[in-house]
Symmetry: C2
Subunit: 348 residues, 2 copies
């Protein structure tokens, strides 16, 4: 049996660091995962000793004296603060001491580290962030890009289709996942100049990696008709946050309706566990983090407010991507779909 | 007292026409609204006689032999089918026999009719469609554009800000509504090239018509922090439909959670009226239709599946916009904000 991948966890990333990260490392290590906890050793070591107790857990602390804040510019992470915990995580992978990075820190800085430390998978123009949407068919649909690239060209959308299909496959979807483009209507004349260009290319050049299903509208995102939904990072981010806003509004309006009409407080109380399940389902954070696709290595971005359970999930997910060869899979798929990209590049 | 506005209702627009339109006309007329029911007179007149009975309702039938289908191209409405009910509605306004148009038909055709029959308000580059989102502060937030213009330039977003503020004011918002730009983050560096250009212009040129509040994220759309939220028609349409998709998914997941876990069927039953209230609140159709802003006249687009109640609301809303001078208000505001537009035009 191969030894388990070593995950570099940025101990000073999240909103409640390093407490959450310490708990996550211990929880993950108790399931056999190997964690390199990266950050100020003087702070981390005594707290880790307390948490781990007598147990001999597969956790090492790697000292990194500095930290990237949420307000730091992305360039800080790659040039201004070389000894911060986040860039040091990436350095550990580069030097062969770790296999993947997980952080709940500044996502712009994560993207910059991914680009400058790992570099891009050969042939990739722009990496993308993907998150899972739960579907009514009881599996996930992967949306990308969720905010790494707000201004896209057709080449980017076409590459997102390829990368998303590899990711869906690694996550247990069918061998040739169904890919759709997010649009304002399903007729070919709908969409923007950008989506119409991507639609033409994807329609004209079938790929062995995915089945292209055309346009999909926002109201069908949860239907499970597509395994992967592609859009630019601006619309993707708006879509992701609108789901969050609608979920919150739904529960708040419901609470208000109950109160104002003196309705069914008892019913509401009885429904509480069902509500909690749905909120968790619609909360993409519960999945454990979003991978950066298209960089030459595994990096998982977790929400700043992640719980230790979500972060431990992020560690588990990172390890499974190393085991399943996500990065080699992406590299091969990008090489395999050059005709698609050439067609997109012709459009400029 | 001025006489009530005459509303030209396209009797062959919606999915269940003309039955829904006939019922809507009768319901509106019973509240004193004047309706011109436009379509095939041979079909409409006997059915209207049956519905209206002995009552002398302020409904006239205006004969139009043809009809625009949902699959007709927008140009059909303005050139190919001059005697169809939809373009005839606009002709009736132009010839002074009606004051506003309401239709549940093809929205692309409505936009084309608005542009070619009414023409644009002087100085407007592109009209926009706006819909209300309910907010936690118990008033509406108006989002635009919801799909009339998928590819926008900064001038369009800036004009949407002005038009949206006039519309929010007419709808009872404060005299200087708060306008925000939809974005993927609130820091000025966030957004697309397009939103950053619009942000710079709106920040540099305060308007008497609205207070510019900067960027707003998708998760805050329901907060009520802004009276008007501006975005391009692609993202706006995606946002609108994602709300619909999330609401449907929420209720479906909830039903499933209840069933799988054998939870609280009784609780769910007790909650039914509260659920119905929230679904109606989150369903923008219940408002009665979306106006086309920026054309030189009142035109309300209703959803194809509108109930007769929703269509009757559309008629009421159209009449109130005529009474409140929505179009003159827009014309004045566009003239008043030329500095803003000049700054946007400089960007190209």
């Amino acid at each position: 049996m191969l030894s388990s991948p070593r995950i570099a966890l940025d101990a000073f990333g999240g909103d409640n660091c390093p407490a959450t990260e310490l708990e996550a490392a211990v929880a993950a290590a108790r399931t056999g995962l190997r964690v390199l906890l990266v950050g100020d050793a003087a702070e981390l070591e005594p707290r880790l000793a307390t948490l781990a107790g007598q147990d001999n857990l597969p956790i090492e602390v790697h000292h990194a004296p500095d930290r990237i804040s949420m307000s730091d510019s992305p360039s800080k992470a790659v040039r201004g603060k070389p000894t911060a915990s986040m860039p040091v995580c990436f350095d550990l992978v580069k030097s062969g001491r770790a296999d993947a990075v997980v952080s709940a820190g500044n996502s712009g800085a994560m993207l910059a580290c991914g680009l400058f430390k790992y570099g891009r998978v050969e042939g990739v123009d722009r990496p993308a962030i993907t998150v899972p949407f739960p579907t009514l068919k009881q599996k996930y649909t992967w949306l990308l890009d969720m905010g790494a690239n707000v201004d896209c060209r057709a080449l980017n959308l076409v590459q997102f289709a390829v990368m998303g299909s590899v990711y869906a496959r690694v996550n247990g979807s069918k061998s040739r996942p169904i890919v759709a483009l997010l649009s304002n209507g399903t007729e070919p004349g709908k969409g923007t100049e950008l989506t119409r260009a991507a639609h033409r290319i994807l329609s004209a050049h079938p790929s062995v990696d995915f089945e292209y299903a055309g346009y999909i509208e926002g109201n069908n995102v949860f239907d499970g008709a597509a395994d992967v939904i592609v859009t630019d990072g601006y619309s993707g981010n708006v879509a992701l946050k609108i789901v969050e806003g609608t979920t919150t509004a739904f529960t708040t309006f419901l609470r208000r309706a109950i109160k104002e009409r003196h309705l069914t407080q008892v019913g509401a109380l009885m429904m509480k566990p069902a509500f909690a399940m749905v909120k968790e389902l619609l909360d993409s954070d519960s999945y454990g983090g979003a991978p950066l696709l298209g960089i030459d290595g595994v990096a998982i971005i977790c929400h700043g407010g992640s719980s230790s359970m979500a972060l431990a999930n992020g560690i588990r997910v990172a390890a499974s991507f190393v085991d399943q060869g996500l990065t080699p899979g992406l590299t091969e798929a990008i090489a395999r779909n050059q005709r698609l990209f050439a067609a997109a590049k012709e459009l400029g």
